[in-house]
Amino acid sequence: MTAARPLPYTAMARMAGRRLLHAAPVLLAVTFGVFAIAAASPFDPVKAYAGTAGMTASKEALADLRANLGADQPFAARWWDWLTTALSGDLGDSTSMRQPVAAVIGERIGWTMLLCAVAFAAAVVVGTLLGVLAARRRGGLLDRTVTSLAYSLEAAPPFWLGLLAVWLFALQLGVLPAGGLTDTGTDTATFGQVGSHLLLPASVLAVSQLPWFVLYVRQGVGDALDEDPVRGAKARGLAPRTVLFGHALRSGLLPVLTLIGTRVPELITGALLIETVFSWPGIAAATVEAATGVDFPLLAALTVLATAAVLLGNLISDLLYGLADPRVGFDG
């Protein structure tokens, strides 16, 4: 591992290609499922499109609209229509935002990525640190504190933690803003403004992701510390620091860190709640608004997008795992 070794690019590319081929039917199935659920529900696209005007419109006008929207066709036909236009780049119009779906996503996805990336990075760094510290003396005071804190945090709903954080940091201490992207009254998003508004939501999102990292790192490193090579290294009288960094962390930490790609679903779940609590103008908050307004085109697009993100996370995870542990390889 220490000598520079060329990465197995071809094997990795082949794995990525295979996964892409697997992802296509999964995404297809998800879009089909989304349309099937909508077809089975009492949801009526015509009424959703017409809004309050639909209450007073004549039967004929509604029937015309129905034919225009293609809502009189069976759902499989509507699914196929949606799919073919979506593949040409047109995801339809959002009924709650009165904007093309692609524009809504384009405007908001950057803010969500920023929030998630900062929170995720913080969770990885802090989680690894706490996990390693806890694993060094399993059953010790630090270990017990960290572990029980992790379990309590895991049980706490992120939206509740978010509101308590607002109460403490924004209201009692008055050090951080309670929500939004910028102060009220300013339109331009400057670096400092966004930074100060990002700190609280990103910290709460990080805290909600933290328990998993702490517990897995603790388990991985703790098990590695009990393995024979580590015991051997200790018996040879190597310094505890050398044993920890040179032996235990390499075999215990690396596999855990590669798993972070599989945390995308939990990150999306957390973002859905945190963005709503902090009025963060991201895509997850838009999802909740779309659900409240029964905005089917936007919801369908976002569900597919989230699924693609999850599959991408899994792929990254498997690639990293293959790199970290050559025995696993890139056959999956």
């Binding site: 999964v26 199935a29 998800v30 499922g33 989304v34 659920i37 909508a38 529900s41 009492p42 949801f43 060094r136 003396r137 059953g139 379990y151 309590s152 895991e154 049980a155 706490a156 709903p157 939206f159 509740w160 509101l163 308590l164 607002v166 109460w167 209201l171 009692q172 309670a178 517990l215 388990q219 510390l225 200790k234 018996a235 995308v264 679903p265 939990e266 999306i268 779940t269 859905l272 709640l273 709503t276 999802t287 909740v288 779309a290 659900a291 409240t292 029964v294 089917f296 919801l299 976002l302 569900t303 989230a306 699924t307 999850v310 599959l311 899994n314």
Partner: protein, 297 residues
Amino acid sequence: MADSLTGAGAGAGGWRTRGAKRRSARTLRIRTSSAIVILVVLAVLVVPPLAQLDQQAVDITAKLNPPSWSHLFGTDDVGRDVLLRCVYGLRVSLLVGVVAALVATVIGTAVGALAGALGGRLDRLVMRLVDTFSSVPHLLLGIFIVAMFRPGVWPVIISVGLTHWVSTARIVRAEVLSLRGRPFIDAAISGGASRRRVAVRHLIPGVLPQAALAAVLMVPHAIWHESALSFLGLGLPAHTASLGAMVSGGRGALLAGDWWPVAFPGLFIVVPTLAVAGLAAAWRERLNPRRQSELML
């Protein structure tokens, strides 16, 4: 770590006292968890029919009173008692959680057992379905289902049930596969037992403990999910007391500096969840004593 390398006698002694300490800590954990679970079940079952109190009783003169002896958890923005509403909310959340967990467990056990027992092409198909379902984030799929079928209790239950069966299906399938390879199943088959008899006498009893454990662990998950949906305003109808809706409803008061309408309903989610997880860990330790216990959520 260091004492495991010191002399054998000292090591053994240290091991024994440490083991005893761990056992007593475990007993304490089990007792506390049981006490909390019993208290919760009692409160939820007994308080509403016995107490002649109306949880919706509005008293504008007593709005947003901080916790005191007459209102232990304070009052909310229209003067309703937060403690009483928490108990009612927990009652609703627990009911929804138990039913949703049952739905998820029944679907998961049926799918997992069928896939594991029949194998072959059906198994591959089912596992692809499981993979597809687990690629969609739970809460997002739940939000989608609820948005389409809203409002009501059943959409919430179905949304939780349809998104949470996957893990149970995986567990049950793995268990069935491992049971199928055991000698006593071979013995039963070569003894002339019918498929049905093997399934009823050997497979189902073998799978049941794992499925039941998964079902118990599913209840806090379901409550978490329901309260998240209710918090987002997509869950139960607004007039039903629900813990998530209470947290959401307390937001205005919280932004004015009054913490109790938000803090207590959240605690009512966290504490029972931890208690159930503690009991489930103890149970799993009995099922599989060799594996060191970890709480599981």
